[in-house]
Structure formats: C-alpha cells, structure tokens
Amino acid sequence: MKYTIRRIWMLVVTMLIVSFMTFLAFELVSGDPAQTMLGTEATPEQLAALRHELGLDQPFFARYFRWLGGFFTGDLGSSYIYRQGVWGLIAPKLSLTLLLALISFILITVISIPLGVWSYRFVGGPFDWLRTTFNQLCMAVPPFFVGILLCWIFGIILHLFTPGDFPALRSDPGGALRHLLFASICLCIPRIAMTVRMMRSTVIGEMEKAYVRTAISRGNDRRQVLTRHVLKNSLTSTVTFLGQTMAELVGGSIVVEQVFGIPGLGRFLVSSISNRDYPVVQAIVVLLAFWVVLAGTIADLINQRVDPRLRLGGGAK
C-alpha cells in the first residue's frame, strides 16, 4: 500500500516536472504559433490580435497554471492549428502507437530471451566472434535505414503490405496489424540485439557464482542448473531492462512511424513541435512521461513478485 502511494506520488511529481520543462522549453525556444498560423503576410496588428485570442500575451506562469488547471479537470485544451480538442486529436494516434509498442515488446520478449540463453552456449566457442559481430551490426544500423529496406523488400517486392497506405484500424484491422508488424520489426531489431547481449552477460555472470559451482559439484547437470536456478536469478535484471525498453519503444516509434507512414503519436509530436502547437505537444509529452513512469512501475511490481528480497527492501524504506 505504502509502495502504491509512493508510486502514484512519484507519477504526479514526474508529470508536473515534465510539463513544466516543456512549457519552459517553448518559452525559451524562438518562434510563436501566431506567426506560424498567419505566415509571411501577417501584419503586426494581426499577430497581436491572434496572440491575444490564443492567450499567448499572458505572463508565463499564468499560462502554465491555466494549462495545469485544465489538465487536472480533464481538459487538455484545443489545438491551435486544428482548432479542435486535443484529446480527440491524439486518442486515435495514441492507440496506434501503443499497439506498435506492444507488438514490438512482445516480439522482443519472445525472441530475445530464448536467444540470449541460447547464445550463452557459444561463449568461447569458434563462432562467438560471428555472433558478436552480427549483434553489434543489429545494434548499429539506424532504424531509418532498416525501415526503408523493410518497406522495399516486403512492400515493393513481396507486396506483403503497402508502404504509404496505412489501412484504417477499424475497417481493415488485419491490414493495419500487418503494416504495424513490419514497422515493429524495424523498431525491434536493435532492441533485440541489446536484450540478447544483456541476457548473455547476465547468464555468464550468474554461472560464475559460487552457488552454481556448488550445485554442479553436487552432481547436477549444467543445463538443469541453468534452467532451475540461473534463469530465475537473472530474471530481475531482465525485467528491469525490458521495462526500460517498453518506455523507450514509444520514443523510438517517431522515426519508424515516419518511414512507414503510420499516423501515430510520434509523427504528430514532431509536426506539432515545428508548428508550435503547444497544447498538443504538452499533452503528448505528459502522456509519454506517464508511459515511462508506468513501465518502470510495472517492472518493479513484477520484480517484487519474482524476488521477495526486493519486497522487503521496498517496505523498509
């Protein structure tokens, strides 16, 4: 209970800080939304009138607290550019980005954990250098490049999906999911490589510990030790790592959404920043912050179930 309260408290504080930082960043960065909306032919009077209409002529803190007040009463404000409620604009995009992150997360978990344990077998073997090189390569190639490559191979040559034409989730869920699947492959590759490497080094570290040596000297099979004890003990760091991955996936989706033409949150964030559409940016950034804290919390909760020591430690604090 104490833990839950502390977590919620942390969530609120994080979101407050993040929203304030975003507000501040826009205050410091040049350019203003009225200018973007009115373009090159705007007269100073027009600019002043529009700034007043949008409330931009008010002092910084007045604007921030007005936004904050709206946020806590469930009103995210309305977009300067689209002149409609922010929530209505981002809700359909949010679901796509979450779906993309979720599919990627499942792929990462399902592929990298067995692969990581399996790759332990090659340690010191003749093919270890090959595995290491391949792993490094997967981590190093930019998602942008991989995305174009995937679009070209699976979209243009094999016709498995149509790059540039994302089907609506409601009318063609199968098509949309297929499109998302290829995008998540692009998003996954470097993360899988990282997770595999992390898994491998954790297993190596565990296998060198005294209890493993004891277990083996008592006549246990190496593989039995690996599955019965080592894996369980490696789990906490893996879960923590996957929690971070979950948080990062949403951020990583920006580039992938652009390449695959998915109308998600990441793309919208980028265009809203260049349009100086503050209410939209503010809402998306706070959502992302929420997501990051949530992923961390879930990882913590799982770890506590897995490892009772953490539960005790958490309670004592």
Partner: protein, 523 residues
C-alpha cells in the same frame, strides 16, 4: 541439449510460417489482380487497378494543411490543395486569366473605380444550400473588417463601399487598381450560416471535403451539384507523408498515384513504365536575398560583386540536375509580357570582376557573408552550399546558417535581422505587382530593406495605372532597376517535377501554386 535446440528451431520456423501465412492471405486484397501485373518485374509498382476501378486517386503531399478555413489558410501547400474546394467571385485559369466563378459577369467602370459583379444563378454550396448575396457579403466582410484577425486581407482596404441590389454587387474603390480582380480572387465564398468553417469546411468548388484526419489524410469527393463542368474523378485522397523517402516508396508500392514538387533525384528512382514525369515550374523567384540596409550590402558594388561571383546555370546543374530556369530579376517567365528575359544574363559569371568590385568598395581582402537558410527547404539549403563554394573564387567567404522555419519567419522575414538568405518568393494572386511591390521602401514586407526613391516613384505610377500597356512598361522598368542596382542575387524559377502514374492524364500547370484535380482522369 539437442532436443532443446530442435524445439527452438521448430518454434522459430512456426513463427516464420505464421508470418508468411498472415502475409499471404492479406496480399490477395492488397495487390491487384495477378493477371494485370504478370509481365511486370517484381520490383516495379503494379498499376493500382483498385483505385482505377472506383475512379479515384491518391496524391502524396509533404505536409499537413495549416487550416481548412479558406480565409485562414496561409501555407502554400494548403492553398495548393484547397483550390479545389473553394472559389471566389472570380477564379484563375491555367493560362493565367481571371474568369468569373461565383459571379457570372464582372465589369469595371472606365475610371477603374467601380466594379459591378452579378451573382451566378444556381451556384450551390457543398451542403446543398444555394449561394445568396448575403453569403457573398459575409465572406467579403470577413476578409475586410479585421474583426477576425487571421482572415483580414490588407489589399482589400481600397474598397470604400459595398452595395448590393438583387443579385448585383457593386464595389467602389478609393483609388483605381488594375489588379483589383486578382485580389478579389482570394475572397473565397463561404456560407454565412456556417459557424465552424475550420471543422466543417463548406465551399462551392468542384470538390468537397469528405473527411480529414490530422497529420494523416484529407479526402475530397466530387461535388455533383457544381455549377461548372466539375471534376472527373469521384474521390481524391491526399496522404500526408512528411518523409521524402516515404513519398517515393508510396509511389512505388502503389499507395500513391501522383506526387508534386519532387527532386530530380527522386524521380530517377521511379520506373518509366509505371510513371511519367511532368515538368512545370514552381513560379517563384529563388534568390539570395540581401539585407540592403546592412554593411557590406548597403554598397551597390558589393551586391554587384556577388552577382558576378554567382554562376546560376552552374548552380542549377549541380544542385538541381539542370532543371530550373535562370532568372535575372524579380519576375518569372509564366508572367509573359511582364517578364524581361534580357535581364537574365545582365551579370555574366566573372569572379575576377567580383574581386575588383570588392576592392573598389574597400574590401581588398574580400568579405565574410552569413547566409541564413530555412532548414526544412532542402533545395534552398543545397543552393546555399553550391553558392558558398562558388564564392570562394571571388574571395567571398560564406557561412551557412540553417534555421528552423519558424525562426526564419521571425528573425529574417519579419525581424529583418539577417545578412543574406535564400528563399523563393511567389505571387499567390497572379499579379506582377506582388513580386515587385515588396521592394518599395515603405512596404511592410520589404524584408530586404531595399530603398530607392526612383523605384518608389515608378512603383506608384505602375500601381495606379489603368492602361495595361502603360502598366506593363512600368513594371518592366522596375525589374530593370532591381537588376541594375543588384538588389538581390536572382537565381532561378525552380522546376516543379510531378510524378504521375501511367494512365492518369489531364494534369495542368497553373502560373500559380495550385494543383487542379478537376481536370485529372483515368484513361
């Protein structure tokens, strides 16, 4: 051990099979009938029979629309598309004329002070209601009154009186203006009863807005009750793909049928069997615009030195693969009679002459120049890079400073705080005036701070001239002054390369930045 390896391998295989299966079942719906593209190699985009059969097309655009309210839109990319949705009392044609639209007759008095317009009978809005004189007056007032700051159009200040009688609208001007109709073009007629022109866009054009998804797409449908000939395609979808690679992939994959404003590099990635590249011009004056009020560019010799140091054709060849028309003044060929071609080669490329001029002006060691460019416009950035390289031969050391568009607007265009910048200036109402008036010393958007009493004098005469020949002569004089005083380093009218899917025809280029979809049709 072995069993485990086998199990992992098997599950991987299963995953692959699932993947392939899922792809396979879907491909029957996603790709056209196999018979049509049996002969085409796999790497080529299939003709998308799906859209052809339903008489629709998809067009890729690089940015979302800034506003669907025609009186609020400012981005060129928005005007380009909404041209199909909204009309004024008069509208432009592809050959550069201004013809009656929502009005059926337009006449001007001999002194150019009174315009009489007759409302066309039977014009309907997209919601089915008839266009009334009230709607016309409402639209006019919305742009004139200044109550709605974003909709205010300064050029309409010359209207001193608006009177209506039945279906006749009379506009009285406070001073004669030969270009008044061009400005009237921007008074798009919208219904007075519509409280939300942004969220519920209603116009009178050949296409109506069917749906819009922010940062995703805009769907237009043919308006069956259009007063004129109307569109041929039933549905036109504009897909927003801000990533240039995605636009090319979209064409190749069959997701898109037409993309404008491509680079020659991108067009070479498309197969000639599936696409045809049509070349128009962007109708803009790309130049290295100089801050004439700031040293060293307050000295005409330094400005001329820059002109001599610039190899326009060389720049076009290098940065644009030779596509583009070199310019020598603030006017482009689409303007026909106003365009003075002889000015293009006024300054022949001559770096030695440039160094001499610099020395004369008191800079024997050359000068340092900072070129500010809006970083989102790759062509301008590329141009800056080529110029910086060319200028080395003339002892001009150029530094390129890329800035975000918003910063550019604030600092350079409105703040006039810059030394030199590269951009393209357009005339969104088809008048030569728009391109030349901005160099008048008292004009609001004279961001180059060009100040020349002789220029101001002729400009005043040109603007108030009613006789066309006389006005044309004045405008040509202005162009010559700009060139002779080297107001800016004029570069080119950039080429507009449009990729069009084979089988789609009817693309027309306007002397304006618009994409008319009503003339497009499948063969």
């Amino acid at each position: 051990m072995k069993k485990h390896t086998m199990a992992i391998l098997l599950s991987l295989l299963l995953a692959l099979a699932l993947l392939a299966g899922c792809g396979g079942s879907g491909s029957t719906t996603a790709t056209p009938a196999p018979g049509t593209n049996n002969q085409t190699p796999a790497t080529q985009a299939p003709v998308n029979t799906g859209r052809r059969a339903t008489n629709e097309i998809a067009i890729g655009v690089a940015q979302d629309f800034d506003s669907l309210d025609p009186h609020h839109m400012t981005a060129a990319g928005t005007k380009e598309v909404l041209f199909n949705v909204y009309e004024g009392l008069v509208k432009p044609t592809a050959d550069g004329r201004i013809v009656p639209a929502v009005a059926s007759e337009v006449s001007a008095s001999e002194d150019g002070l009174t315009y009489t317009l007759k409302l066309r009978a039977g014009v309907k809005f997209h919601d089915g209601s008839a266009v009334t004189m009230d709607d016309v007056v409402y639209s006019l007032n919305r742009r004139m009154s200044g109550e709605d700051a974003a909709a205010y159009l300064k050029a309409l200040d010359i209207i001193s009186e608006v009177t209506t009688e039945g279906d006749t609208l009379t506009l009285t001007l406070s001073e004669p203006s030969g270009e008044f109709l061009a400005y009237l073009m921007n008074v798009y007629v919208i219904p007075a009863a519509n409280a939300d022109p942004e969220g519920k866009p209603i116009g009178t054009g050949p296409y109506k807005v069917a749906s819009r998804a922010a940062q995703d797409s805009l769907v237009l449908e043919r308006f069956a009750d259009y007063w004129g000939e109307g569109g041929k395609l039933d549905k036109v979808t504009f897909k927003i793909l801000e990533n240039a690679e995605s636009l090319v992939l979209g064409l190749q994959s069959g997701a898109l049928d037409l993309v404008s404003h491509m680079t020659s590099d991108q067009t070479t990635q498309l197969s000639a069997q599936s696409f045809r590249i049509e070349q128009g011009s962007m109708n803009l004056v790309q130049a290295l615009y100089l801050n004439n009020a700031r040293a060293p560019f307050d000295d005409v010799r330094v400005r001329q030195a820059l002109c001599y140091a610039t190899n326009k054709q060389g720049m076009i060849d290098l940065a644009f693969d030779g596509f583009g028309i070199p310019l020598g003044t603030s006017m482009f060929p689409s303007f026909g009679k106003y365009y003075d071609e002889s000015l293009t080669d006024y300054y022949e490329y001559d770096p030695a002459r440039a160094r001499e001029l610099l020395a004369e002006a008191g800079y024997p060691d050359g000068i340092d120049v900072t070129i500010t460019v809006p970083s989102n416009y790759t062509p301008h950035v590329n141009t800056a890079q080529v110029l910086a390289e060319q200028y080395k031969a003339a002892n001009i050391r150029a530094t390129i400073q890329p800035v975000e568009w918003n910063t550019w607007l604030r600092d350079v265009y409105n703040g006039r705080d810059f030394q030199a910048t590269i951009t393209g200036l357009t005339s969104d109402n088809m008048t030569a005036r728009k391109l030349l008036e901005r160099f008048g010393s008292t004009i609001d958007n004279n961001f180059c701070n060009y100040s020349n009493p002789e220029y101001d004098e002729i400009l005043a005469k040109a603007v108030s001239a009613i006789d066309d020949a006389e006005q044309t002569a004045y405008y040509r004089q202005l162009e010559r002054i700009l060139t002779e005083t080297a107001a800016n380093v004029y570069l080119q009218d950039m080429a507009d390369l449009v990729a069009v899917r084979s089988g789609l025809k009817g693309l027309e280029f306007y002397p304006l930045y618009v994409l008319d979809v009503s003339t497009l049709e499948w063969e």
